[in-house]
Amino acid sequence: MGNSEESGVTDTEIITEQNTPSQEQETPPPEQGEPFQLRGGSFTLMVLKLVDPTSESFFARISEKARLAPNFFRNAAVVLDLDGLPESQACDFGDIKARLRRCDLMVVGVQGGHRPHHEAALRSGLPLVPSGRPTRTSTRAAAPQVPPPRSTLVVSEVVRSGRQLYAPGGDLVVTAMVSPGAELLADGHIHVYGALRGRALAGLSGDTNARIFCMSLEAEMVSIAGLYQVNEDFDPAIVRKPVQIYLKEGYLCVESFAPVTR
């Protein structure tokens, strides 16, 4: 931590810790007649390690992180880890607490650090919690940055002449034949598990990695990311063959899956 040039991000490394107070094992039996029960419990809390709380971007970066996984951070209890702070550095915990509250985080205590810090924390109403053992960095779990899955349009009946199918943002799979005069459009790949006799336009919004696959190439026209070829220009060796069509170095490439016979 803190070894990155990019100050803001590593300034606030967020670690979850398993905090297991030792008295949990020897919880006394509830006393008769008491209006309360006192017992131990173990909690998983988020730990916010303060590397440079005076950094201008400190709270802005925390806000940014919190926005990535708002449900995870909403009103989350955090423990401030003071191990990274030099003894001489004074901290206004009241201010930190209030500003973190505006980032939807609730500071419940501090851990580590030096005596002056502990005293300052206590004055701001923050107890010293025994140091826990770090589990894993929560940033990855908190902010899954996987792109949304591409939707695939699957059609299992014959696509007849005059019909136009469009798979916006995804692939188009047809498990039957496509008649002459039909039109298949997809932003992703086009698969035809039957004869392709109509038109097929893959990578409609410019994806040059899109491909067209079909069991028998009899298409009127094929196109990938705007580059097209009409039936008349097909190599007779690949007509009526199972093929894949893709872009290679800016050229439309039709490749037979079957041994080519001329």
Partner: protein, 271 residues
């Protein structure tokens, strides 16, 4: 409840009306009570092919508009028992076909008739859509040539998407292919699409192949359904197709070229 059968093709001049007349007569000859309706509003032809043009008083559109009762508009065939014709208007256009009006007529006919044949106009507009909308079964009339096949394909798409069965999510319309004007000799010479080519593109079950025959024009001109010309190839092929439609297992005839013998060659008689 009667079955509604649409005779459709997309393309014009492929033999829809001829086939409608032949099937209607074929069903009735087998004792099935049948009515055949002309949906080609403004281009009335069915009455001519059925030979009842001089007995038309009221028509389909009059019934839809409530100007006549269905019983007044139905024309009973004079030659065949159980056969009725519902002619259309020659003076109106396809806009006269309202969905509600057609539905009311269909509902009434379903109670009385076993088969209701809707003779569709060409095209994919209102007339054709209304003819196919209420169908339970569809006979796709196709000629062995590319434009007809493509139009048939389009109509099959409409049946799958725009029919009542499709809109209500019911079992799809049952599709049958009727390949008409087929000439095995020209197919052999490569001048005409083969049966297999057509089946490959349309991918629906074959109901029958009607050979190209001068008997068809001859029958139309005298107002006789060609199925009644039992000596003609076309008449026999229609009779076979009707039998198949009713569930009989009949082998396809007139699909392969007949070898002309020495005598017929010498006499120069067409096959």
């Amino acid at each position: 409840m009667g079955q509604i059968i649409v005779m459709t093709s997309g393309k014009g001049g492929v033999g829809k009306t001829t086939s409608s007349a032949a099937f209607a007569a074929g069903f009735a000859l087998r004792g099935r009570k049948t009515v055949v309706i002309d949906f080609d509003v403004g281009l009335r032809n069915l009455d001519l092919v059925m030979g009842c043009e001089r007995r038309v008083v009221f028509d389909f559109i009059n019934v839809i508009n409530g100007e006549a009762k269905l019983a007044q508009a139905l024309v009973k065939d004079k030659r065949i028992e159980n056969l009725y014709i519902l002619p259309t208007s020659q003076t109106r256009d396809k806009d006269a076909l309202t969905k509600e009006g057609v539905e009311a007529v269909m509902d009434e006919l379903r109670k009385d008739f076993e088969f209701i044949i809707c003779d569709s106009p060409a095209g994919i507009e209102r007339g054709a859509l209304m003819a196919l909308y209420f169908a339970d079964q569809a006979i796709i009339v196709t000629n062995p040539e590319v434009s007809s096949v493509r139009d048939s394909d389009r109509i099959l798409g409409m049946l799958a998407a725009r029919s009542r069965r499709a809109e209500l999510g019911l079992a799809p319309v049952t599709e049958h292919l009727l390949l008409t004007r087929y000439d095995p000799h020209r197919v052999e010479r490569g001048e005409m699409m083969t049966l297999d080519d057509v089946l490959d593109i349309l991918a629906i079950p074959l109901l029958g192949v009607i050979p190209e025959s001068p008997a068809v024009l001859r029958a139309s001109n005298v107002g006789l359904p060609v199925i009644m010309d039992e000596s003609s190839n076309a008449g026999m092929a229609y009779a076979d197709a009707v039998a198949r439609f009713l569930g009989e297992n009949v082998e396809h005839r007139f699909v392969k070229p007949t070898r002309r013998g020495l005598f017929s060659r010498l006499l120069g008689r067409p096959v």
